[in-house]
């Protein structure tokens, strides 16, 4: 094949790829059917202890205050709705937040694991984002790893006396990036590159998803800060109820 042909071909491929993909920048849900059975099971098993921990923490809350069940449910519905809304974007493309960083900061990482898990189920059945067999992998990256990192960064920033809003931005931003990295690694483990193995494959996945995920992480960070600022001006009683104010 001639060199010019090759260049034209690659340009066309890339063009089609971005033409097809940029309008839909959303969290990286691994879709149904993408992971081989082995990895579906492995990620499910890895997520299990975290989910169990989250479940016991929720059970404990409910045993103490049965009434918190409606608050928890609203929190879950909120995460779902936030992640299904079109967010403002500079390019006019259609993007969505993950909402898990915000959820973790507001509701705590342990309840977010369960709420995030439920949200992922609803995203699969109401929005066709993600899937059932990939639920384990998606739960790990979005409802466990991301929120834990978010909460870690948030606490760290508090300890280091970083400006609160910078801390919140970093928490949401890095939590999002971490989710994106974990998902890329999950994909790479399932589909290692013939030449370079898992590492090379991970780099490939990181690269191809970067154009949609990096801007998304920044916007997610910004919006999380804006939402929290707005929340603080509105209502402190409700925030105390869900435990945000006493932490923050």
């Amino acid at each position: 094949m001639k060199k010019s042909h090759k260049i034209i071909l690659s340009i066309i491929t890339l063009g089609v790829l971005f033409w097809g993909s940029t309008p839909l920048a959303q969290a990286m849900h691994i879709m149904e059917g993408y992971l081989p059975p082995k990895y579906c099971i492995i990620w499910g098993v890895i997520s299990l202890p975290f989910l169990a921990a989250g479940w016991f923490s929720i059970k404990k809350t409910l045993a103490e205050h049965r009434r918190s069940i409606t608050i928890l449910a609203i929190a879950g519905a909120f995460i779902f709705v936030i992640s299904s809304l079109k967010i403002p974007s500079v390019t006019g493309s259609c993007s969505h937040m993950t909402g898990t960083g915000l959820g973790a900061i507001l509701f705590g990482a342990s309840s977010v694991s369960i709420l995030g898990f439920i949200v992922l189920i609803f995203q699969a059945i109401l929005l066709a984002h993600g899937g059932l067999t990939t639920l384990g992998a998606n739960t790990f990256s979005m409802a466990i790893a991301g929120p834990i990192v978010s909460i870690g960064i948030y606490k760290l920033c508090q300890a280091l006396k970083v400006n609160k809003y910078v801390g919140i931005f970093l928490a949401a931003f890095i939590g999002d990036l971490f989710t994106y990295c974990v998902t890329s690694v999950q994909l790479a483990l399932a589909y290692p590159s013939a030449q370079g193995g898992v590492a090379a494959s991970a780099i490939k996945f990181l690269t191809v998803f970067a154009p949609t995920q990096l801007p998304l992480a920044i916007v997610e960070g910004l919006l999380t800060v804006l939402i929290i600022i707005a929340l603080e001006t509105y209502a402190t009683t409700e925030l105390t109820d869900i435990g945000f104010v006493k932490e923050g």
Partner: protein
């Protein structure tokens, strides 16, 4: 034969890309005419799948049957990992949901196209690879090495794509014919913990309440030019989102009071309709599963 498969898969992909493009085009149109909803109901087409499931002609089928059939199909797709199985599944599911379930082809395709971006990008990452040698059928010199692909990798990518689409078709059978409340009732039958089921039921209900609140606030913000540019949009979004949360949290107590007023004592119990599993459905389903297994056995 396999060449044909690759070619037709490419064709299918083109159609999908076309559909998703049209869908997005329509979404942009909708922004201008806020009242033109793609599926003729409120919530701005955001959760159209729920509405499609509710309008399906096979909604009255036993939900457990549908969920099992759907999950079994997905599992067979990924476990057998066979391109012929994938193709049969894609066709069978489309037949069930479109022909028997009475869904418009266009709606079916647009739901199928939702994960399209992800499919395209992740398959792209699989069919190309780096090397320091100019190998494969196509290669591109990048300065530090070659980006290349081989016929085998292309075939692998296309087959993977078919498998993914087949699995998603399997999922569609469930989500496009069974309302979520019924899916939850099936989970309950599978002995998922009661509080988990209760949370799911409530979250499902509150999602729509929140969306209503959001739609109202968004419209009023829009009427006050809250979305004029990117910066304003961000502020508006933050304000609307937080307001939505605060308003609903304020009502959390009222929701619980209303349940207690009707003698709720901590265990959420709903009346469900018993839908019989008909032999008429089970037999063809069993034949279908056996056919898939046979097909896999013959083409192994």
């Amino acid at each position: 034969m396999e060449k044909w498969i690759v070619l037709s898969a490419m064709f299918l992909l083109t159609i999908l890309v076309f559909v998703v493009k049209r869908r997005n085009g329509r979404r942009h149109g909708e922004r201008a005419h806020e009242h033109r909803h793609s599926f003729g109901h409120k919530h701005g087409g955001l959760i159209s799948i729920d509405y499609l499931a509710y309008s399906s002609k096979i909604r009255h089928w036993n939900p457990t049957f549908k969920v099992i059939l759907s999950v079994l199909t997905i599992i067979l797709c990924i476990a057998l990992n066979n391109v012929y199985v994938s193709i049969v599944v894609i066709l069978a599911m489309a037949y069930l949901v479109i022909k028997v379930g009475g869904l418009a082809l266009h709606d079916y395709l647009s739901v199928l196209a939702i994960p399209l971006a992800f499919i395209l990008i992740s398959i792209f990452a699989i069919v190309i690879d780096f090397s320091d040698q100019p190998i494969g059928i196509y290669h591109l010199y990048l300065g530090f090495g070659y980006l290349y692909t081989t016929m085998a990798m292309l075939k692998y990518g296309v087959f993977l794509m078919l498998k993914v689409i087949a699995a998603i078709s399997g999922l569609q059978l469930m989500i496009l014919t069974t309302p979520s409340s019924e899916v939850i009732s099936v989970m309950k039958k599978a002995h998922v913990p009661k509080d988990f089921i209760a949370l799911m039921n409530m979250i499902y209900r509150y999602i729509f309440i929140l969306l209503d609140v959001f739609a109202k606030m968004k419209n009023s913000a829009e009427s006050r030019l809250g979305y004029r540019d990117f910066k304003t949009s961000c502020y508006t979004f933050g304000g609307v989102a937080s307001n939505m949360l605060v308003l609903s949290l304020k009502k959390a107590g009222a929701y619980y009071d209303a349940m207690e007023a009707r003698c709720y004592d901590g265990e959420l119990m709903f009346l469900e309709e018993d839908k019989k599993v008909e032999i008429r459905l089970i037999v063809p389903a069993a034949v279908y599963v056996l056919c898939l297994l046979l097909l896999w056995y013959l083409t192994r």
